[in-house]
């Protein structure tokens, strides 16, 4: 008995010791791989393909960071997390960064003590219903049974939306997107609600996507972005500027196809600074000078990442909308590389 107590306490202590934050960059280098938290499977954002290789829009962010830090975009351990486990995984040090369409909110940033390093997708919460229900507006959903993923902001938005419109609903709490899909298709709920991008991605995997409609109402702002632990600012900077590098690359016309050529030096000093042929931005981050070039050449710029995974030519078919460059009327705006 005494022995088991002792072993138990040692085991717990060992777990707790893992939470001590060290220099994440050194840890990642020593490990030779980046531990990146992603969803348990949302096609287009993060899902394993037929060969078990993770791919998607959020996966691209992980790969870009791995390429920038380690020079190898495949040196990533993808850790699938659910809405409920993701924050614990990040806070405990199990993962180095989380790229899991996570909404940037005040309390997550301040109270849960995380650091959001930017926004890679501007989203909002929507509703999907089967077409045969004949519902054309979210205001007609009084009394409906709604599937939601627990531990998300959508859960709170949903409660606010229904009570502020004086409607009632029956929540069906669900752990992962795959379970939600199964419950929704079985008719155990009338409505599935999550971020509009998630709805589009889920609908694209249905046998008959046209039998389901996404209602026009968007009931919340959901700025989705990668996040890291509070306190390790150097690591936060690396993730933030890797994302900015992808966005800036699109604005500057740097693509995965021409990055090698442009890295040799161009007329545009900003491209030169970004790709490392002028100045030493990489050194300031503690990385090699070709960090951004590595990231861009492995996953492409933001636009390529978007079009390749969730854009209009993919089954998911999302338009750029708010996620266009500021020069095209969108919200993407990278601070200058200087």
């Amino acid at each position: 008995m005494k022995k088991s107590v002792l072993l138990g306490t040692l085991a717990v202590a060992g777990l707790a010791a893992g939470a001590v934050s060290a220099q994440t960059l050194d840890e990642v280098r020593a490990r030779g791989a980046l531990n990146c938290g992603v969803t348990t499977g949302l096609v287009g954002f993060a899902a394993p393909d037929a060969n078990g290789e993770w791919e998607g829009f959020d996966v691209g962010v992980c790969r870009a960071v791995a390429a920038a830090v380690l020079g190898d975009s495949t040196a990533v351990n993808f850790v699938p997390t659910t809405g409920q486990t993701r924050f614990t995984a990040l806070a405990s040090g199990e993962i180095d960064m989380l790229a899991r369409n996570t909404t940037w909110t005040f309390s997550r940033d301040v109270d849960l003590r995380f650091e959001f390093t930017g926004i890679n997708y501007y989203d909002g919460q929507g509703f999907m219903v089967p077409r045969e229900l004949g519902v054309s507006s979210a205001m007609e959903l009084d009394g409906a049974t709604v599937c939601i993923q627990t531990g998300t902001t959508t859960e709170l938005n949903l409660a606010d939306f229904f009570s502020s419109n004086n409607m009632s609903y029956e929540p069906v709490p669900i752990e992962t997107n795959a379970e939600a899909q199964q419950q929704y298709l079985a008719g155990a709920c009338d409505v599935y609600t999550t971020d509009a991008s998630g709805l589009a991605a889920t609908r694209a995997t249905f046998e008959d996507p046209s039998a389901h409609v996404v209602l026009p109402e968007i009931i919340s702002k959901e700025p989705l972005g990668p996040l890291v632990r509070h306190g390790d600012n150097e690591w936060g900077d690396i993730v933030r500027w890797t994302l900015n590098a992808l966005i800036a690359a699109e604005e500057l016309g740097v693509t995965s196809a021409n990055v090698a050529e442009l890295a040799a030096g161009t007329e545009n000093p900003e491209i030169n600074r970004l790709l490392g042929s002028e100045g030493d931005l990489g050194g300031m981050l503690g990385l090699s000078s070709d960090w951004a070039a590595n990231a861009i050449s492995s996953v492409g710029n933001y636009g390529e990442l978007f079009e390749g995974n969730i854009g209009e030519n993919t089954p998911i078919g999302l338009a750029r909308g708010l996620n266009a460059q500021w020069t095209d009327g969108g919200l993407l705006y990278s601070p200058p590389f200087r």
Binding site: L6, F162, S163, S168, Y169, V172, A188, D190
Partner: protein, 404 residues
Amino acid sequence: MTIQVVAFALILAAIWFLGRNIVHNLEELGKDFNFAFLNSRAGYDINQRLIEYSNDSTHGRAALVGILNTLLVAFLGCILATILGVIAGVLRLSKNWIVGRLMTVYVEGFRNIPLLLWIILIFAVMTEATPQPRDFRGEDAEASMILGDSVAVTNRGIYVPNVVFTRSLGGNEMTEAADGVEAAIIPSAVAMDWLLVLVLLVGGVLASKAIGRWATKTQEATGIRPPATLWMQIGVILGPFVLVMIALGATLDLPELRGFNFSGGIHMRNSLIALWFALSLYTGAFIAEIVRAGILAVSRGQTEAAFALGLRPNRTMNLVILPQAMRVIIPPLISQYLNLTKNSSLAIAVGYMDVRSTLGGITINQTGRELEGMLLLGLFYLVTSLVISGAMNIYNNSVKLKER
């Protein structure tokens, strides 16, 4: 002695190290340790709630709703598991080959497959094999209600008629909830009515027993049993009950398809039913083995002696074997009840909102108070288990061999 002292010192050192580690790590993360989050607004809705709750309630209230849901499924599960276990345990000893083998299949099948699989399997069957509420609509509907249009079996749960009191003691009839949440009968208002009914029923049973004793006494004294004793016994139970039901204006509230869902009646959610059945069937298999062991532990001589006295087999079982077997059965039965209660935390697999899902899931996730939440959760299961085993120990003392 020396070894004990050293071991004790080591344990103290480990505890000290642990405590310091927690404090240090929390400091490093910039988190403090307090339970104030229990008083802040929860902001999320819970589908099954036995007490009043809305998204404006506090996290503490949400935890309480979860606790009650856990206790509900544990209570229902323990009862059904005991019934199943005793039946299966006795039947497994049956001389009838088919009955005995069927029970063996049940016991081995449920005992040797993980509980989580059973929960998911039962839930999946209930979700996939039953019709959606909208299949009940229209002239030539694909599905129809059963038992004279009073019960609806859907893939969202089973809707059964509910007894409502139109002249409730709580005063308010069928309160429309103000904001957002479903219009519902406020549980606390009807609780008084049900309490009254329950008191009358218990009183009726006691009175009927007293009548029985009086009748037996009269019979022993005079040789004549007072006429119509049985009718008096039934009357004393049913009479006040019927009168009170009429006085309170009890009516049946039938489920009815309205909008997206059935409304009215009691909604037994699939998540509750699946969890309840899976827990009961699984634990019932263990209880069956405990019961069988208890019966086999009673010496064969007891049965033979009872037969020699001319008792029939079923009376032998009820009067001679089971009372003695109880002494062997009760202690391991306690741990099965504890297992069932703790296993109910698998509820998340089917989205049943137990305390693990509310306090230990959503609340922790929204507030970031993992340590506090998990400590509270552990404390709840600890206290519940201690209470169950305490109560069962009292019962055990009452049936165990009296040593004089």
